[in-house]
Symmetry: D2
Subunit: 306 residues, 4 copies
């Protein structure tokens, strides 16, 4: 039974993701993203599950920066998990009695409309995690009346679900990834994603355009780009890219090699099956067969055969 570290405490959305990605794994809750990844790096766990981005909040900076700067890990799977928030209290009570709410800052943002509409007088206080908020609220001595968290947190800590679906959008989705120490890549499935981090050699105008051209000229589509500061002052960025396809495919391999040649550094984060199962449209001339035919032709003309 594999052991997987995850962004804890227990009863967070990340644990839910872990249960779906690896139903038979033993979960190792970690205090934060860095701790979860470190557990995987040091071998205390066989891997880790952490959030990568949220359809409302965007990229999770701590995950993005850990993947870019920390000891290398490989993404081996992804999951798109709809996120449903519940309002949880120790006892049944009218909404109007809820005066102090405790929850994670991301949930504060995502439930702002509900709070403004249904509990305009409530004060919402940021918590380290939604599960920590639930645990705190379960304590009879807590100064908070309610937590906003996942339903499973309520079940775990014996709370009442005063309201469910309190997020402003019913369709918020969080993308989770499973990480392993470097090793054999998942096999190509025909519907894969490749994740990369690219650092510019120098921040010249047009550098981003050049990087994108390395992809487009080989017919490789970009599905995500995220700029992050390098830490060396305003105006210096590096980039996270998600590409359609698996690095074992010729067009992806040539594109990332091209990126490598023009960048100061490129870190490969993994090729893994897409959660949505969508197969990329392969542009004319960019299938593996086309690359193989052209390679054979190049070999012939280099030896002077027509």
């Amino acid at each position: 039974m594999p052991k997987l570290a995850y962004l804890g405490p227990e009863a967070t959305f990340t644990e839910e993701a872990l249960r779906i990605l690896a139903p038979h794994a033993e979960g190792l809750p970690s205090a934060n993203v860095s701790a979860a990844l470190d557990a995987a790096r040091r071998g205390e766990a066989d891997g880790a599950v952490v959030p990568l981005e949220n359809s409302l909040e965007g990229g999770i900076s701590s995950t993005l920066d850990e993947l870019a700067w920390g000891e290398p890990l490989l993404i081996t799977a992804e999951l798109l998990l709809p996120v449903q928030f519940s309002l949880l209290t120790r006892t049944e009570m009218p909404l109007s009695d809820v005066k102090r709410v405790y929850t994670h800052p991301a949930a504060i943002t995502q439930c702002r409309g509900f709070v403004a509409r249904e509990m305009p007088d409530a004060v919402v206080v940021p918590a380290p995690s939604t599960a920590a908020a639930a645990q705190e609220v379960a304590d009879p001595g807590s100064p908070y009346d309610a937590a906003i968290a996942a339903r499973i947190a309520g079940e775990r800590y014996g709370l009442v679900e005063l309201a469910s679906g309190v997020g402003d959008r019913s369709d918020t989705v969080t993308r989770f990834i499973r990480l392993s120490r470097p090793g054999r890549l998942p096999e190509p499935t025909g519907s894969d994603c490749t994740s990369l981090v690219a650092f510019l050699t120098d921040d010249h105008p047009g550098a981003l355009l050049e990087m994108l051209t390395e992809f487009s000229v080989r017919g490789v589509n970009l599905t995500r780009i995220e700029s992050r500061p390098t830490g060396d002052g305003i105006g210096r960025y590096f980039f996270h890219f998600d590409l359609e396809g698996h690095v074992a495919e010729a067009r992806v391999g040539e594109a990332v090699s091209g990126l490598r040649r023009i960048c100061a550094d490129v870190r490969f984060l993994g090729s893994y099956p897409r959660a949505d199962g969508v197969a990329p449209r392969i542009k004319r001339g960019t299938a593996d067969d086309d690359f193989a035919e052209a390679a054979g032709w190049l070999s012939r003309i280099r030896s002077g055969r027509p």
Copy 2:
């Protein structure tokens, strides 16, 4: 004396930025970025000062999303402010006695190394803002021993500066912007920045490359790109762009018009002097004179004159 809303409470880094950007302004502290901008929108303030990005943490999501989705405001100035964190306590004490630290999550990240090295046993708890942390710690009944915040917060709340420069990097910079209700733009200075938000018509492969080409073909350099989720599910993004130059310049005007034609929507966020005073390199054929000459020529050939 203009009144400017800012991301409060008092004694935050944003108040410091406000004092530099508008020394004679009256400050109106606001609970969060949205509240500060709303005060400017509703006329309770003449404008607002908020952070836009940090050289370590990246873009401030709440500011980016407010600028994109909220009632339109114009950026009229920017400031790059070095950020210095201090460890503040109610009374002088040895570092080893500090067990519980309170500060904003961004500061937790930026001071992680100091805490791990100097106070390995301390627990760090997230606060709504660094100034709120300082205020809380000033309360003799506070469960926290120390706050990490700006020095001016310590002065305001009568705290002892146990250590200064506790950030992991000495050169962290935050970029602040001043916003006003729509109106006359700042005059071009020869060293300006133009900020935009662009929404794709449909999220086709190559859309980003097309957008960047609209800039590059007119010799307009991109200094920042930030993708943000549209909220419509993973894989749907819109983009914040910062460009070199003022929209009153011909090359910038034509480029943003080109962007407008290929996008579902483009929101202009302002043209304003660059804080660093750097003048862009004007590529051959893209100065205002070149555009004027070409426009005259086009007018002649359209009427059949050689």
Copy 3:
């Protein structure tokens, strides 16, 4: 009745083109392309008709260079004329008796297969024009047995058509243009062509790519590109371009202005109805309405209106 100079002598394919392009015009045969164009320039004729390119032989260098370097003229119409060659003799005779054939070098190339197959022993001698060849052969003292020329040349000079359709391809087409002194352009028809000549500022790598990008970024399709030497040594070229659309259209106007800004010189050769009547596909965001909307928007944002 307009008077039009054309590449003579009488009975050439160009006269045929003239009769179709301007049925009621008086034709003024000229010794060569330069002479025809000079007649138009000096006012001896109201215009000129000359060949521009042939589907088998390519561009007519003398026309291309005259348009680029000579006193400016405007193309006002084009015609695609199928070219049919006949073998013409003074008297009826067996093919095997034809020993010396006289014709224009272009016809030598285009009838090579027929000659090799049907008259393998015949010598083919280059003539200044196909009509001149017919005229010469009509002379009983001529050293030539046959001419290859247009059927109308045979009719004009009383020759026998020994064989028709002797070109190697039945579908050879020549493109003729009608030229006028600079003046009012033909009105846009929705199916137009714009012709240009562009001279590079300096022959830097990537200059051609930059020129093509000026077109593509405005959705303007290129239908012909022809490089010609500048005369300043091997490796120095200028370019003839044919574009879809009329210079009065916004996307064409902006594209050619962009070309003008990055080139040492651009000479506009005219916008005129396409002979094939094909309407261009207008890419999203590049119709005149799109340009007008974007111009209005630019004007609003420049004055600070949202």
Copy 4:
């Protein structure tokens, strides 16, 4: 001693080129470009020397089309030969007595200014070659008074050089190529040229831009582009390209393979030393070492090593 076919007759500029390119070769004069190349193809000669382009007249269509459509041959060397025209007569005579001049059509164009200025009343008649013109004029029964040809033609046929340097430009240069049957390529020298012919899959808008991008993205500079009609009607072209570098170099190999993948057909015409000895500027990231490093990296990441 190798035997090389060339565009004859003897005493043409091509023979001069042959003498320089292969001083010890036996020359085999041929009636035209096709005949010279056929001699090489059939083994009657070991190779051929023909003109490829002229700095005043442009590409030699017959050579371009033979290389594209005929049985494949490889270019193994090139030569840039200054072309000097002389006015040659049987006997010494005043210029004003020269009434009928015989020469090749290219020379007619190149000497137009001299003729107009010095012999305004002379009639100039096209000849199959400049050497044929000289040979004809050497015949006492010739109807022509003078030939315009290379000085060596005058020497060969015993003519008087009435005037030298009668070309309108003193710096006209013709580029000659030496061709061989397919076989081992010349070794890379660091200053090489690669010649190609590319046929489009379908003539979609933007096809040319895509082809040029295959070159530019690998830092391969284009030194010549020549469009030629495919013969399938006006508006259908194929392209001759000359590139900087040798196909044995990684960046050229990958670029031509990319071209191959997106084109209906690519014909490789050879990689050979540049006559001007100019070494290309290698763009950052496109040297052979850069490709080798990136290939090693790709291999590592594909097997999951960081």
